[in-house]
């Protein structure tokens, strides 16, 4: 996809991941809707859904992740069911940092 589109979609995903992190770091956990939305996406990662731009970007960003795709699916299930433990946070922080790098790289390409 074009550098700008990639940047925009990575940006929206980054907002979702950061919102999920904020929810998970809040010990009272009053509302986990962003975590659940992110969880749904991680579950769909294993389906090779090339029609969905967000899933496509997530798959590309996670290609060098230390977690295999199946483990991201497990994490997705935990996020959807609201049973995530604090152990998930470092993985999501890693994802957030990867998305930050991808955005910076794409932004340099479209010469903002």
């Amino acid at each position: 996809m074009s550098a700008f589109t990639f940047y925009q979609q990575a940006r929206e995903l980054a907002v979702l991941v950061d919102n999920a992190l904020i929810e998970l770091k809040d010990e009272t956990r009053p509302d986990l809707r962003h975590s659940a939305e992110l969880g749904q996406m991680l579950i769909r990662l294993s389906g090779d859904d090339w029609n969905d731009l967000y899933i496509r970007i997530l798959a590309l960003v996670l290609r060098q992740s230390p977690l295999p795709n199946g483990r991201w699916g497990e994490l997705g299930n935990a996020l959807v069911s609201g049973t995530t433990t604090t152990e998930a946070i470092p993985f999501l922080e890693g994802l957030a940092r990867s998305l930050e790098r991808e955005q910076a790289d794409a932004a340099a390409r479209f010469g903002r």
Binding site: M1, S2, A3, F4, T5, F6, Y7, Q8, Q9, R11, A14, V15, D18, L21, I22, K25, D48, D49, W50, N51, L53, R56, A59, L60, R63, E93, A96, E100, Q103, A107, R109, F110, G111, R112
Partner: protein, 381 residues
């Protein structure tokens, strides 16, 4: 990062956002209304986000990394708005800009383009470039005086067809992207397995991983945009690609080996364009372009090697061409018919015929045509 530093940055960003709002000219021409509203909505969004980041929740130490990332997103958003959206609005009353916008608007009707036309702005720093989510197409400052590269506008117009979400009219093209991507993914997975079984060198396997990434991240889309442009303009797009390669290209058969490449190799793009021309019955023109292409490659003695063939399999390129043509037919977009094109596409093809008849004398002919095309406030009539 100390809180007083962040507070200072947030305050500066807020001032910048307000300054951008004040910089939007009043009484803009109608064709800029959509961009004006889009820019304003995005700036309001930035201001709201800055308020959130200044609030007590986001100032908690536990959220400092999320806050910093969010702050950087606002910086990038405002940069893009300033350099692309507001820059386009600041020149909106310039007659030459309005001419290009009329051209795009007429072209949209002529080819039955299914989305709203983007706003054209002459602030490109690197050839033609579209920002689909902003609805801005940047072109070089002098582009409204020349005809030979205007077919590249069609390539840019295809990008939003692949990035616009929830628009049923363009679903066939989005589906083509998904189908070609799935085929690419399957192809490289299979090749990687084969490479492992046959103990190919690690470097080759690394290249294949990189090619798969490049294809899925960017090349499938770029090739589909080339196909859209070829199917709508016919041979003019092939000539434009040849011309651009002659002026700016390097080795057209070089493959990515050390990092992500945004565009596929020029040789693969040309091969795709020729396949597309043959699919719409323009074989004779495809052969003429191919002859010139070979001549050009011979100058530097360049030809495809084994890596190129592994990276750009012919069957993948042909599959993409067939899927794109089927999608365009389903979308109802006008496909170029040799000798029976609309006014603008017809002119772009005539320009190329004229260029080859008299390359040295072409500029005078071109200046006359541009003058006629843009007279009376309309193009193509």
């Amino acid at each position: 990062m100390p809180d007083d530093h962040v507070a200072g940055i947030l305050d500066q960003l807020n001032e910048r956002a307000l300054a951008l709002l004040r910089h939007i000219p009043r009484d803009l021409p109608d064709e800029f209304n959509r961009l004006e509203q889009r820019c304003k909505d995005l700036i309001y969004g930035c201001i709201k986000e800055l308020e959130r980041l200044s609030g007590p929740t986001m100032r908690k130490p536990a959220y400092r990394e999320e806050r910093l990332r969010a702050l950087r997103r606002v910086v990038r958003d405002l940069d893009t708005l300033e350099n692309v959206g507001i820059a386009a609005l600041s020149r909106a009353k310039h007659d030459e800009d309005r001419v290009l916008n009329r051209l795009i608007s007429d072209l949209r009707r002529e080819i039955r383009y299914p989305l709203v036309a983007p706003t054209v702005s002459p602030f490109s720093r690197s050839y033609f470039h579209i920002y689909p989510e902003l609805g801005v197409l940047n072109v070089p400052l002098m582009e409204n005086r020349f005809l030979l590269h205007l077919p590249d506008l069609l390539h840019e117009l295809a990008h939003p067809l692949l990035s616009t979400i929830k628009e049923p009219q363009i679903e066939p093209f989005r589906r083509a992207l998904a189908l070609v991507s799935a085929r690419v993914d399957a192809h490289f997975r299979q090749e990687l397995l084969r490479a492992q079984r046959t103990h190919l060198p690690g470097a080759t396997r690394h290249y294949m991983e990189l090619w798969r990434y490049c294809w899925l991240r960017s090349w499938v889309e770029e090739l589909l945009c080339d196909l859209f442009a070829t199917f709508t303009t016919g041979a003019a797009y092939g000539w434009a690609h040849l011309h651009l390669y002659a002026k700016t290209g390097a080795d057209p058969y070089a493959v990515a080996k050390y990092g992500f490449h945004e565009h596929p190799a020029d040789g693969a793009r040309m091969s795709q364009i020729l396949t597309a021309l043959k699919l719409i019955g323009q074989s004779e023109k495809a052969e003429r372009i191919q002859a010139r292409w070979r001549e050009l490659c011979l100058v530097s003695n360049l030809s495809p090697d084994q890596d190129y063939r592994l990276c750009y399999p012919t069957d993948l390129l042909e599959y993409a061409a067939r899927q794109a043509l089927a999608a365009m037919s389903e979308m109802g977009t006008r496909v170029a018919v040799d000798g029976d094109d609309g006014p603008i596409i017809g002119l772009l093809n005539r320009a190329w015929e004229q260029f080859w008849l008299d390359p040295k004398g072409f500029s005078a002919w071109e200046a006359d045509q541009v003058s006629v095309m843009f007279s009376n406030g309309r193009t193509g009539t």
